[in-house]
């Protein structure tokens, strides 16, 4: 489902003496449907950078990143947008939303984007929010004022609202208590069971061991480069 071939990336800092920094060199791996792999490596090894490249958030200079039948490196912006809407989900560590939009709508939005009716989208959003123990009295409020943990859970609910065939998870269990961590892990297991290909970054080793089928050490692609 997700396939990387000879992927490399450099940053050129034009305003800092045109420094060229190679961050990822020659990455190749594939993730099949129903499989979950973990990106590992020390802080600064390039896990998040690689993840963002796979989402198209960072520009990839060379190689191929295939999600389904789209090569993200060559794709037009509108193809990437369609891919993100229908195929490729991303749960980042930070929630980025329009202020003043109620939590319920924030969670329902990915479903509305793929054409689910407002009512059905709300039903699914409510289901996820209660599963993740977001008190009902908060649903009508904007998540921008929530605590870090609450924001993280809203973010996860939003990320899991639509059943993407491919998902990227950046520290999905960070800053969660045991009960919520359990909910998130079971969401991941459900996603795997329905055939989603998942790439995750987990500092939580126990979580990683439970849901991941393989590990890929990113530092072997970056060794000696960014350090």
């Amino acid at each position: 489902m997700i396939e990387l071939k000879d992927v490399s990336k450099t940053f050129t800092l034009h305003n800092q003496g045109s420094a060229v920094i190679e961050v990822i060199n020659d990455v190749s791996f594939a993730v099949a449907s129903g499989e979950c792999i973990a990106l590992t490596g020390n802080s600064g090894a390039g896990k998040s950078t690689l993840m963002r490249m796979i989402y198209g958030n960072y520009l990839t200079q060379s190689g191929e990143i295939r999600i389904g039948d789209v090569d993200l490196v060559q794709a037009q912006p509108r193809e990437v947008i369609a891919l993100r809407r229908d195929v490729l989900g991303y749960v980042s560590q930070f929630l980025r939303v329009v202020p003043r939009v109620p939590t319920l709508d924030v969670v329902a939005e990915p479903l509305r984007a793929v054409g689910v009716s407002a009512e059905d989208a709300q039903v699914r959003a409510k289901e996820l929010l209660s599963q993740l123990n977001i008190p009902e009295r908060l649903w009508s409020l904007s998540p921008t004022t929530f605590s870090g943990g609450e924001q993280q859970r809203v973010n996860i609910a939003r990320g899991f609202a639509h059943t993407y065939p491919a998902m990227l998870l950046d520290e999905p269990t960070a800053s969660l208590d045991a009960a919520n961590r359990e909910v998130v892990l079971s969401l991941i297991e459900d996603a795997k069971a329905r055939g989603a290909a998942i790439i995750g970054i987990f500092h939580d080793e126990a979580a990683r061991d439970r849901v991941c089928d393989r590990e890929i050490d990113v530092s072997r692609f970056t060794r000696g480069l960014a350090a």
Partner: protein, 256 residues
């Protein structure tokens, strides 16, 4: 798929000074594109060339018309272009008073485009106007009030209602949130996002506010001195800018 709008080599000169030079891109149905750049970078010139307010010195602006398919709006006759601009196109001005008739009631402002395309039933026009006021979160009881009695945010929302009532397919926006309070901006952005999604609108938004494009635009063009220096997915351009100027622009934004 046919692009809704295909901009080909648009150039506008002011004497020897470049307004914008050789700008080309394609916009597909449902896409929202942001154009950013500092004052004087040519983004408003470009917008006005595309919307038919300025005649470019070179280039074509090909719009996929409902009746005849792709047509160059630069060379089409003025009546046709004006007809487009009150049916399939909409233009949201930065200052609501440029886009509203301040001496005409809210209902009359919204109804004008309906009457312009031949609606001659007062009751229907008024019902549609009232419906649109509610969609942009203006209380229906204000339908007979003049925009002079509205707040800045309400005026801007009224301008949007007035533009969208005929179900356009392409909306040009010039700094739509400029001059509004931050809290009012947020509400307007949310409203615009909902309308864009629900109506399947395509939009081109000119702004110097990177936060606005991040929330509204799928794609982004960065302009400097009349030229496009970088274009791509909005979050990619903002998070991993490639051109020196884009990097400077992004790194110059104060983090809150």
């Amino acid at each position: 798929m046919t692009p809704l709008l295909s901009v080909q080599g648009i150039t506008k000169l002011y004497g020897s000074h470049i307004g914008c030079a050789d700008v080309s891109f394609e916009l597909y149905p449902g896409e929202v594109m942001g154009i950013v750049g500092e004052s004087g970078s040519g983004k408003s010139t470009l917008l006005n060339c595309m919307a038919g307010h300025l005649k470019p010195d070179a280039g074509a602006v090909v719009f996929d018309t409902r009746a005849d398919g792709p047509r160059d709006t630069v060379t089409m006759s003025e009546p046709e272009r004006r007809m487009l601009s009150r049916t399939d196109w909409a233009f949201v001005h930065q200052h609501a008073r440029d886009g509203l008739r301040m001496g005409v009631s809210a209902g009359g402002n919204v109804g004008e485009r309906l009457m312009a395309v031949g609606d001659r039933h007062y009751g229907n026009i008024r019902d549609k106007a009232t419906d649109w006021l509610e969609r942009v979160e203006i209380d229906a009881s204000r339908v007979d009030d003049r925009p002079t009695t509205f707040s800045g945010g309400m005026q801007q929302r009224l301008q949007i209602a007035r533009n969208l009532v005929t179900g356009p397919r392409l909306v040009f926006m010039d700094e739509p949130t400029g001059g509004l309070d931050v809290s009012v901006q947020a509400r307007l952005l949310d409203l615009l996002r909902g309308l864009v999604r629900d109506m399947g609108l395509s939009a081109i938004i000119v702004t110097h506010d990177l936060a606005v494009v991040r929330l509204l635009a799928d794609r982004l063009m960065v302009m400097k001195s009349g030229r496009v220096v970088e274009a791509g997915l909005t979050d990619q351009v903002l998070d991993d800018p490639q051109h020196a100027y884009s990097q400077l622009l992004v790194s110059s934004v104060l983090q809150v």
